[in-house]
């Protein structure tokens, strides 16, 4: 019997922790934020958390509401198992009127099934899966989808006179959409995609792939990668003597890519809607606070998270004092020309953000706005 006892003691020890409720603040309004704070993608989650903390501190200090708003952060490890459990947890907490996150589309979608059923507005700063906002009227996102960015880049590349373009992207839902929307527009406007290939995320060695690209002698290379893979790609391309201009999406926009690839990142062109050296006051404020917290300049994703939190807070303000999940959803859906650090944001009828894009290039180790 000792064995059973041992097992039960183990479970009994675990049980009370389950039911320890967090201390409630009087009648604060709560938001949930599910994000990867540990695991392989923790760096992104930690960035979002810092961005959200900056946004929330500002908001609570501004006194726009007589009550405080708090954000409950839950770590999903970018694991669907945990993401769904967190979603249930947020739904159970009646004080939570809206949820931000998750980071990856996969976890965001798995959690979205719960939010859809429970009627909880969910705003992800990064979920770029084409079907994410189609799940239900409760899903919003604050990332420009490739439906906008792909054609924009295609036209940019064509306007530079490059006709033959090689396209590579990571093998994720997002990478798929990068290629799809870009290729469609490029073909429609008279360019040709001479090479298409997907690579697995975290591939350490791109040289075999780069050699293959070179064989097709493209005028330009269009890439769908995040900054880590990007840095590896750029370094190895330089090693192999590739001089073809390289274009990318806003996902690669992070000062880290310059830090990791050094001089090899020089000349990388990409679209973005956030430039840390922009003179606009809201951007300057955010960048200053970020530099104070982190010591380096923020990239595109933290900016998206910062805006997402602010859009959510704005929706809470608009609905106060009748703040419910349903009213927050209405307010979110009505978001129009929200002035954030990533420019003006409007949600269209499909709850997709409409944003203006701008062009940038790495010049002298800095992302610099270019007009061409």
């Amino acid at each position: 019997m000792t064995l059973i006892r041992r097992t039960f003691i183990g479970l009994a020890l675990a049980a009370p922790v389950l039911f320890v409720a967090s201390a409630d603040a009087a009648d604060a309004i709560r938001l949930g934020y599910q994000l990867p704070l540990t695991g392989n993608t923790a760096q992104y989650g930690q960035d979002f958390k810092t961005a959200a903390e900056i946004a929330l501190d500002r908001f609570n200090a501004s006194g726009r509401l007589p009550v405080k708003v708090e954000i409950v952060y839950e770590d999903s490890r970018s694991d669907a198992k945990e993401g769904v459990a967190i979603a249930r947890k947020f739904v159970d907490d009646e004080k939570i009127v809206g949820v931000l996150g998750d980071f990856t589309s996969g976890v965001s979608i798995a959690a979205a099934q719960v939010y859809k059923e429970a009627g909880m507005p969910q705003l992800s700063q990064t979920a770029s899966h084409p079907d994410f906002t189609k799940i239900s009227e409760w899903q919003f996102r604050n990332i420009t989808t490739q439906a906008g960015e792909g054609p924009y880049n295609a036209n940019w590349i064509l306007s530079k006179g490059y006709k033959k373009v090689a396209v590579i992207a990571e093998q994720t839902d997002w990478g798929q959409s990068v290629v799809q929307y870009f290729a469609a527009e490029l073909a429609a406007k008279g360019g040709t995609v001479v090479f298409t290939e997907f690579f697995n995320r975290g591939l350490p060695d791109f040289r075999a792939l780069i050699t293959k690209i070179q064989r097709d002698k493209p005028d330009a290379i269009y890439t769908g990668f995040f900054y880590e893979d990007g840095a590896n790609f750029l370094k190895q391309a330089k090693q192999l003597g590739v001089t073809t201009p390289i274009f990318s999406t806003s996902a690669a926009h992070n000062q880290k890519i310059v830090e990791l690839a050094g001089a090899d990142a020089e000349g990388l062109s990409l679209t973005t809607n956030f430039l840390p050296n922009s003179p606009r006051p809201e951007v300057k404020n955010f960048v200053d606070a970020w530099v104070k917290a982190r010591g380096a300049e923020p990239g595109q994703f933290p900016a998206q998270a910062f805006d997402a939190v602010n859009i959510m807070l704005d929706a809470v303000v608009k609905t106060y004092p009748k703040t419910t999940r349903a009213s927050v959803r209405e307010a979110l859906a009505a978001t129009k020309d929200f002035p954030g650090v990533t420019g003006l944001t409007t949600f269209d009828a499909n709850r997709e953000p409409q944003k203006q894009l701008s062009k940038a290039r790495v010049i002298g180790g800095q992302f610099t706005a270019v007009s061409e």
Partner: protein, 334 residues
Amino acid sequence: MSEIRRLIRPVPILLALVIFVAVPLGLAQFGKGYFFQIANLVLIFALLAASLHLVAGVAGLLHLGHAAFYGIGAYVAALLGTELKLGFLWGLPAGGLAAAVLALIVALPTMRLVSIYFAVATLAIGQMIHTVLLNWVSLTKGPNGVLLFSGIKLFGWAAKTPVAIYFVVAVVVAASIFAIHRLGHSYYGNALRSLREDDQCADAMGIDTVRLKIEVFTLSAFFAGIAGALWAYTTGYVSPTDFNFSNSILVLAMVVVGGLGSLPGAIIGAFLLILLPEVLRGFGDVRNVLVGLVMFFSILFLPKGLFGEVSALTFVRRHFGRSQNRVPGGEVGW
């Protein structure tokens, strides 16, 4: 005396009461979907761990690609649901069968392998299946994953509330685990154990070890596929990352921490490794370090597992055994 013991076996009844009455009642008391979600997850992983237990515990073959068959079950159930509009009643068995058929195909050439060669072959099989799930975009939708909206419907009755979903999962899991239990404690199970203890000796005694391995590998994949189908229907979304190597290792860890060769151990291991990360949420970012430490200390102090095979066998024989088969003076014969 033996008559009474034959009629009243308290532990199985107690277990059934706990799973089907106490847990749902207790959880319903809190009215929280979260607890039901965790309960479902625990049940699904208990089934996964139990299915791996057949191969890794009973037959003693280190299997490093189990999550792939779990994935096949999930994908087949999800794709049948979305593409062919076949519901849960089709998806569940189809998921299991598809995983079993695939396991049979890959097992035929590879099951001659022994020890670590077998382990690395299963690792390769798991990685290959994962690569296919990820990259065969036209069939599996690749990294986009499959969204399954239909939910669980049984003969016109739709399981919508958390309690109803829990019951469906619990019934399927309990039935499957019961089947695994009976299998593990049959002569067939003993043949598998002989394979584990000494395959050359078993071979010499006339046991067709290769065939036995193929069978147990296929069976285990079948139950993993069932677990996969349950995952697909309870989550509504499947994507390749849920079935990668790390998940194979997670399930293996459950089996080993619980006690290799012990079915109750595997289930307890699943409980522990699913509940622990959730319970430790309060500790913030260090929780995964704590999970690792708990694993380490549990294996350090109980290297045979939380509920080792020998004690599990004694326990099961005492409380689940069929006393009418008992030969006086011995406990053989079941």
